[in-house]
Amino acid sequence: MVYYRPIGQETALFETAASHKLPVLLKGPTGCGKTRFVRFMAQRLNRPLITVACQEDLSAADITGRFVLEKGSTIWRDGPLTRAVRQGAICYLDEVVEARADVLTVLHPLSDDRRILPLERLGEELTCPDDFLLVISYNPGYQSVVRELKESTRQRFVSISFHYPPPEVEAEIVAREAGCDADLAKTLVELGHATRRLRSHGLREGASTRLLIYAATLTVSGLPLKTACQATIVDSLTDDSDILQALRDLIHSVMG
């Protein structure tokens, strides 16, 4: 059973979008629970989930499929997206703007009312079964200007906004995920909260829920708290020496 702690209306939104076969865009900073949420929803809707982590050299062929050489002959191998369409699964493209531009072009006919996936190399055109659902995620704070999600793409999706949870809820999540006590979770969340105040002023992003869970996990396994924080919250966030110093000072201030 996947654990997910709902924050707002996201579950209802997702369910309704899915029942109307509308594609979904999850928007929010990294490590705030988007992936976890999709896993949770897949389980709840009882559909298979296929996740693709997009990076800069991911091309359309990587997700739709390609011919490969096998035992002297060429055979077609479905990519994850094609597989999801055939199976009627949820396909989750994480950080979609990171991928090459042709990936987004493939998504267009899939994400409007045609709901088709043209496979040009095969000369085939797949029509999506009702259970297929396209979900993409996007981190608006992180991307540079060149890597913005185009309006034409954005406007095909139902958007669900994610933010870091409120402190008490975030502490609850950290405690549960790392199996630590409430006090430690509270301190770490306070720390994370403070780092987020530097967003776009020295830090591109503050510490995510994920990093806080890492810090808690390392501490629970016996590492000193400050070492754990240094390794997760300080060094993971930046390479800028002044800001590193500020983060170390912050840990010192918050923990005593």
Binding site: R197, I243, A246, I251, S253, V254, M255, G256
Partner: protein, 683 residues
């Protein structure tokens, strides 16, 4: 010379201080036997002489601010949740927005130096964050009385240290660690270092918990007042209680010290100094507060409540003022009776409680010293704003970098030099061509000079200023110290206003715009000549950060004549618009003028823009910061912009503030409009 000991009484203190500053007490013409006069004399000696005993002169000795500034700003933002610009000045202080820290800590360099910097920054941030300096009334009362200010400062510092320590265990430890540092415990009265040895017992309990070492646990009868004050501050649990308790205790303490003939308790180095005058000088702040009083529903509610309770105890019905009297009339009557008694107007000013206050106003207003104690003077002395004279390669100015939240030191240079002269007939032709408008402007400006008006918020006057009374009423009711400047007086001749008109000469103005700017300037100049207020005209444009040119068309001290005409008739456009630098220099020029009202009118046609990335957010935020600095120098800025783009109101609002700019998308009416704008500003 024997080791200095704590002066036992103010007479001694006065003599000692006077000697230190090389002043003969007799020259000051004050009687050192009168403790109040002695106190003022010391104050005068401290403030009007060059501070010869500053701990740092800006040269690097201990850890320098620049090395830690960026990381400290980031840390401070994370801890306080608010972004404070950090700028150099010694002692540490704040103006309500920027946090000032010494350029360098006293020698020697120690590994605890960064701890000390952090403690200083946090304390100043805390004065703002924990709300102890956010009341106008508090600022005014501590501005007026330096002993009260010192008492308030120490109690407030104590309160802030307590707040931060409660919020963050690590910070609690840091403050405990700071307490044992030698540098933290350097004691100063304003800028002068004083010995800890021999300090009166009456002061000692104030430092308990703030500083280690020494025996601060004084138990004698003299120490009782300070002990009580400290205990009261330590017992504060709610932020709303902070101001009334701290100010109330500071007042008691001040009275106790007066009875004991003691001056101000010195402040430890790390607590910096309070600069109410800087905060008061922030006009924007002033304005906002005033508007809130007048418009916001809260003050009205408070007022009603005040009237209800006052009315009740004063025998009026709970429902409010009786007999159909309007609220204003009711208050007017009530205040006349309670504050003033049935006597003649102005009696309040003569009552003993207010006498002291008034005397201090007097001594400040009538001070013959050229460097009298004004916010600007202290600013000039203490902050590294560069001097104006003798800079062949330009005056360096810092620039604000919004992405790092810090100042870039000496990032640009402004060259102040006469504009190029051309043929004189250009000016005279423009005068000929604009006879009609010039006559109109002259008439309007002349009327301006004689305009009679009521001056509001005066310490004395012929009538009660009802708006101020209402505000004070609310202050009293919410437990704050009321503002006592509640009189109005009538004035026939307007006070002089210093005016600086600055014209954009960047490349984009070529053609019609420069032509109209020139015409507008000529009309304005003819009008200002009749008005007779001190004024100057400058043009500005630049070629990169090192060559920001302020072209002097007419200087403040210059008379009208052929040289001025030749320059004004021949404006030469070209280059970029590094607006922040020009505003800073303009503000600097204005701050040299003796008038207390100073107006800068900026005429521009587009966004701040230069090469090297001075555009977009950088240009706008730096210019906005420059405007903010200028306001701190008491300069009121208005911008008339000819930028037709739709984004103009937005960035202009960000830079100059709401209601401080005018956009003329159509340039033609400029020559007519500009004098109107200026007229509106002077009124």
């Amino acid at each position: 010379m024997p080791a200095p000991t704590w002066p036992p009484d103010p007479k001694e203190a006065f003599k000692l201080t006077a000697r230190e500053y090389g002043v003969d007490p007799a020259d000051l013409g004050m009687d050192p036997d009168d403790d109040q006069q002695a106190e003022q004399a010391i104050l005068a000696a401290f403030l009007f002489k060059n501070p010869g005993r500053q701990l740092t002169t800006g040269e690097k000795v201990g850890l320098g601010l620049d090395e830690t500034r960026r990381s400290m700003a980031a840390w401070l933002a994370m801890v306080t949740g608010r972004r404070f610009p950090i700028a150099p000045s010694d002692p540490a202080a704040t103006d309500g927005n920027v946090i000032f820290l010494p350029q360098a800590l006293p020698p020697p360099l120690e590994h605890t130096d960064s701890l000390l910097f952090r403690a200083m920054a946090l304390l100043q941030a805390g004065f703002l964050q924990h709300g102890v300096l956010n009341s106008q009334a508090v600022l005014r009362s501590i501005y007026d009385d330096w002993v009260l200010r010192s008492c308030f400062h120490l109690l407030a510092a104590r309160y802030v240290v307590g707040r931060w320590s409660a919020a963050y265990p690590g910070i609690a430890r840091d403050f405990r660690a700071t307490a044992i540092l030698d540098k933290a415990a350097i004691m100063r009265v304003n800028l002068t270092v004083v010995p800890t040895q021999g300090m009166p017992a009456a002061f000692k309990p104030l430092y308990k918990g703030l500083l280690a070492g020494e025996n601060w646990r004084e138990a004698g009868p003299e120490a009782a007042a300070a002990q009580r004050a400290v205990a009261a501050v330590d017992a504060i649990t709610r932020q709303q209680a902070a101001i009334p308790v701290i100010l109330g205790q500071a007042r008691r303490l001040r009275e106790a010290y007066r009875r004991m003939h003691l001056g101000p308790p010195p402040a430890p180095y790390f607590t910096g100094i309070l600069r109410p005058e800087w905060m008061l000088a922030l006009r924007a702040h002033d304005q906002a507060a005033e508007d809130a009083w007048k418009q916001g529903p809260t003050p009205l509610r408070q007022l009603r409540a005040a009237v209800a309770t006052q009315g009740h105890s004063g025998g009026l019905s709970r429902k409010g003022p009786r007999g159909g009297l309007g609220l204003r009339q009711f208050i007017k009557k009530k205040v006349r009776r309670t504050l003033q008694g049935p006597g003649e107007p102005g009696e309040l000013a003569r009552s003993p409680a207010y006498g002291e206050l008034r005397d201090q106003y007097r001594s400040r207003q009538h001070s013959p010293s050229p460097g009298s104690w004004t916010p600007e003077a202290s600013w000039q002395e203490l902050v590294d704003i560069p001097p104006a004279a003798g800079h062949e390669d330009g005056v360096p100015y810092d620039e604000w970098d919004p992405s790092s939240g810090t100042y870039r030191l000496a990032a640009c240079r402004v060259l102040d030099r006469p504009a190029q002269a051309g043929p004189a007939d250009s000016y005279h032709r423009l005068v000929q061509a604009n006879r009609g408008p010039i006559t109109q402007v002259r008439r309007a400006f002349q009327a301006l000079r004689q305009e009679e008006r009521w001056l509001h918020g005066r310490p004395e006057g012929s009538d009660i200023d009802i708006d101020r009374v209402i505000a004070s009423f609310c202050d009293v009711h919410s437990g704050m110290e009321p503002d006592r400047n509640i009189y109005m007086s009538f004035q026939r001749e307007r006070e002089q206003v210093a005016i600086l008109v600055m014209v954009d000469l960047s490349g984009s103005t070529v053609g019609r715009v420069i032509h109209l700017e020139q015409e507008a300037l000529v009309i304005l100049a003819e009008g200002l000549r009749t008005l007779g207020f001190p004024h100057a005209f400058y043009g500005f444009h630049n070629h990169g950060p090192r060559a920001c040119q302020m072209e002097r068309i007419k200087g403040f001290d210059e008379q009208y004549g052929e040289p001025v005409f030749k320059r004004m008739g021949n404006l030469q456009p070209g280059g970029a618009t590094r607006l922040g630098a020009f505003i800073r220099h303009g503000a600097h020029l204005l701050s040299q003028q003796p008038q207390s009202r100073r107006i800068m009118l900026v005429l521009s046609d587009g966004r701040p823009e230069d090469r090297d990335g001075y555009r977009g957010r950088q240009g706008i935020e730096d210019s906005a910061m420059a405007v903010h600095e200028a306001q701190r120098l008491g300069v009121h800025i208005h911008c008339t912009s000819l930028d037709p783009s739709t984004g103009a109101p937005e960035y202009l609002g960000r830079i100059f503030g709401r209601g401080r700019f005018l956009v003329l998308p159509d340039v033609d009416p400029l020559p007519r409009k500009l004098p109107q704008v200026l007229r509106g500003l002077i009124r």
